[in-house]
Amino acid sequence: MSETINWILVLLVLTGFMLLGSSRLAACIRLIAIQGMLLGILALRMQDGQWSAAGALLPLISAVVKGVLLPWLLMRAMREADTVREIEPFISYNLSIIAGAAGLALSLWLGRQLELPNRPPSPLLVPAAFFTSLVGMIVIVSRRKAIAQVLGYLALENGVYAFGAAVAPRLPVLVELGILLDVLVGVFVMGIAIFHISREFNHIDIDKLEALTDRL
């Protein structure tokens, strides 16, 4: 069992690296979709034999929303905004990957330092969750396109989800559903906002929105 979980976690880390290194937005969306699916499987595997209707259903719903619904929304937003790839990120792709490697080292160290109430099923779980969150942060900070920001936010959310699976395998149904709804609505709103911004300004470059600040 631990074997499967480890495989999933390794894949999670690898998708994280690929997210940092790819410039095509469609590829990034696909990677996020894969991450969502992986997390669904992870949550299923964490059930540990004690099956219940809610326990089985929730990971499935989460996998569908994160793996199918959100990517579809984002793809649509991408097409509407007419942006295919991220050009000139603030931090080059190579540098992002190096930063990601440093983040992985940090996560591994943190994983050993952090004391959790119950032992996670795999020693890799906490570092992988942290790493995924860090990847999300790096993407948010380093990319220009608004869609990339949304992707970073989703990766961050995935990391939090994985961490939640490690710390509290059995969250109340309502909380899980609430989080899911939160993410869905968040992405939905961002999708609409991106569409409107691109129609209004003919681009979705976040850094060009500076004029809207109250900077003196």
Partner: protein
């Protein structure tokens, strides 16, 4: 307590209703003013009863806020401050209803009424609060609501500037208070006032309270916001702020003093020093002003100085174990709180009448208003005489009590306490004398002589409500003055609450002080009666003769014009010249030249030396230092996220490692 809660309810209802009916012409004025007046009438009864000795009441409701509890307590000290708060708020609302009416159609009137109600409610809560969290919340609400009232005419650049200065000053004060309460709470494990006990660091706590509350009260050098904010605000708001809001600073200082245990002598020395500086600097700067409301604002600094002086004398008496000095000092300070509320409220309202009637507050553009605005002039005269400490008006009673305490201390005390007492006597005498000059100037320049400009010539008397408000306060000044002795005698409960002395010695000392007040008061009343007698005799003598008025002897110059009268600065010149080292008045003079001089000009301007020598350089240096942080604010979303992420990461690492 129920009546006070109902009064708070009235304020709340007035605030909300004035917003709901914002678009209905006179409605916001009616419900807003109605809320303040009804709430004040409702609250003044229990406040007066407790101030006169009825047992204290308290109300305690648990509250979800950490360390907070809705703990309200009405004791004698709180009640003593509540009385002027209710009186002034009600009178100001009455006045404001007519004063603001001229803005109707040009500006939204719902916000000022909303904020006046909020200000009244927050002042009442500040005084009643017995829990630090509740107190600070009410304190902040008070600062913010008065900020919005000050910036009512926010289309003017100068008003916005004044608002910012006020906001910054009050937040600097609040920062000190926060530290003060955190320190007190840390020591005692609770933020309820009655759990605070004498702690080891009482000296530090006293200094924190002095600075924090002093910023609100307007102690020099923290007074710089007063001369900016008071002129900018609408007149009834200036009256409320100057008459009662700044007194919440005095209240807070007294409340903390009662919590800190037996006071040290050096606290008294410090308060005396602060009081003398504030008093002298305030009255000198008032004398040098050209703007009527600015003059009144500086005079508030002066009067707050007198209050601090009284407190200082009282504390020295308390620490030296001399009950009479303590009682008379505190009684003088507290009574001056009440008196200043009455006459400064009155003077600001009259200044509002003048500004409304002539469209200017510039002293040198006014003159001769007594003929066109007789009622305003008469009440202003009462206020001016009272603020100068003239018997038989109320200002005299409180200043006399402080004199009494200081004389007693100077004669009977040992050398170490005699020095501050002597300083207090001479300082008080100097302040009193300068105040007489200052208000003679204000009254003389504004109301006597000939109108200096067309505006002043076309002045119109204020409406009925505005005059009624002034008359109420003027009557208060006269009544407290005439019945000074009884007022002093009835201050037993509040003095007991502040000093913690046994009621017999407080009663004895107050009776003794009241007797002196009565004797001197009789003498003052006799003098006034004599003056009235002379005036009557003059009237009778002149009744049967013809009276004609003619131009004064003009030294051969045939065409004197109203502009040749004494100006404000020329009247004050002998004094400002004497104190030129402190005032640093800047003058420029282009005198007349040659046989047929073309033009000449004279210009004098007195900046607040504390503003120009301390605060402006300080804030300039601060903003220069802060400019180095500018690169951090790029307006890029990504960077901001990076800051947040980095902070979180560092915190996490710090916690883990």
């Amino acid at each position: 307590m129920t009546a006070l809660l109902i009064s708070l309810l009235f304020f709340g209802a007035g605030a909300i209703a004035s917003l709901i009916f914002a678009n209905r012409g006179r409605w916001p004025t009616m419900v807003g003013a109605g809320g303040v007046i009804l709430g004040s009438l409702c609250g003044i009864v229990p406040a007066t009863r407790v101030a006169l000795g009825a047992p204290a009441q308290s109300l305690r409701v648990a509250w979800d806020v950490p360390y907070g509890s809705l703990y309200l307590r009405l004791d004698a000290l709180a009640a003593f401050f509540l009385v002027p708060i209710f009186v002034i708020c009600a009178v100001a609302a009455l006045y404001g209803a007519e004063y603001l009416a001229t803005y109707r159609g040009r500006k939204a009137l719902a916000p000022p009424w909303f904020f006046l109600n909020v200000l009244a409610a927050s002042m009442v809560t500040v005084v009643l609060a017995h829990n630090a969290v509740l107190f600070l919340m009410a304190w902040e609400t008070m600062a913010l609501s008065s900020f919005f009232l000050v910036t009512f005419e926010n289309e003017k650049e100068s008003t916005r500037q004044a608002g910012w200065i006020y906001l910054v000053a009050s937040h600097i004060g609040a920062a000190f208070l926060l530290v003060l309460f955190v320190m007190l709470g840390k020591e005692n494990g609770s933020l309820d006032f009655d759990r605070f006990t004498a702690s080891s660091g009482a000296g530090t706590l006293f200094v924190l309270a002095l600075v924090g509350f002093g910023a609100k009260a307007g102690f020099v050098p923290l007074h710089v916001w007063l001369p900016e904010a008071h002129p900018a605000a609408p007149s009834h708001v200036s009256a409320v702020m100057s008459a009662v809001m700044i007194k919440t600073g005095i209240y807070g200082l007294l409340r903390i003093l009662t919590l800190l245990g037996p006071p040290r002598a050096w606290w008294g020395w410090a308060l005396c020093a602060v009081g003398l500086t504030s008093g002298i600097a305030g009255v000198l700067l008032a004398l040098a002003q050209h703007d009527l409301k600015r003059l009144l604002a500086y005079s508030s600094v002066e009067n707050v100085g007198i209050i601090a002086l009284g407190l200082g004398v009282g504390i020295i008496g308390l620490s030296a174990g001399a009950p009479f000095i303590a009682v008379a000092g505190f009684a003088g300070a507290l009574l001056h709180v009440l008196n200043h509320a009455l006459f400064k409220g009155l003077l600001f309202l009259d200044a509002g009448n003048v500004a409304r009637g002539t469209h200017t507050r510039e002293l040198d553009h006014l003159g001769g208003l007594l003929k066109s605005m007789p009622a305003t002039g008469a009440t202003f005269l009462v206020g001016a005489a009272a603020i100068s400490g003239m018997p038989p008006l109320n200002g005299f009673v409180s200043e006399f009590l402080i004199y009494l305490a200081s004389f007693k201390g100077a004669v009977s005390g040992d050398a170490s306490s005699a020095v501050p007492m002597l300083a207090a006597i001479s300082g008080l005498a100097l302040i009193g004398g300068l105040a007489v000059v200052c208000f003679t100037q204000a009254f003389g320049i504004v109301f006597l002589g000939q109108p200096r400009t067309v505006h002043a010539g076309e002045a119109q008397e204020a409406g009925r409500a505005m005059l009624a408000a002034g008359f109420i306060l003027a009557a208060g000044c006269v009544l407290v003055g005439l019945f000074g002795a009884s007022v002093v005698r009835s201050m037993g409960p509040v003095i007991r609450g502040v000093t913690g002395l046994p009621s017999i010695s407080v009663g004895d000392s107050l009776a003794q002080a009241a007797d002196s007040v009565a004797r001197v008061g009789c003498f003052g009343a006799g003098l006034t009666a004599l003056a009235a007698l002379i005036g009557g005799a003059r009237a009778i003598t002149l009744a049967r003769r013809s009276v004609a008025s003619a131009a004064t002897w003009d030294c051969g110059y045939a065409r004197p014009s109203p502009r040749m009268q004494y100006t404000a600065s020329s009247f004050a010149q002998p004094v400002t010249e004497t104190f030129s080292m402190l005032l640093r008045t800047r003058q420029s003079l282009h005198g007349p030249q040659g046989m047929f001089p073309e033009g000449a000009e004279f210009y004098s301007r007195t900046e607040d030396p504390y503003q120009s020598l301390i605060f402006r350089p300080l804030f300039r240096a601060l903003s220069r230092a802060m400019a180095t942080l500018r690169p951090f604010q790029q307006g890029k979303v990504q960077l901001y996220v990076l800051y947040i992420a980095a902070t979180l990461l560092v915190l996490l690492l710090w916690e883990v490692a």
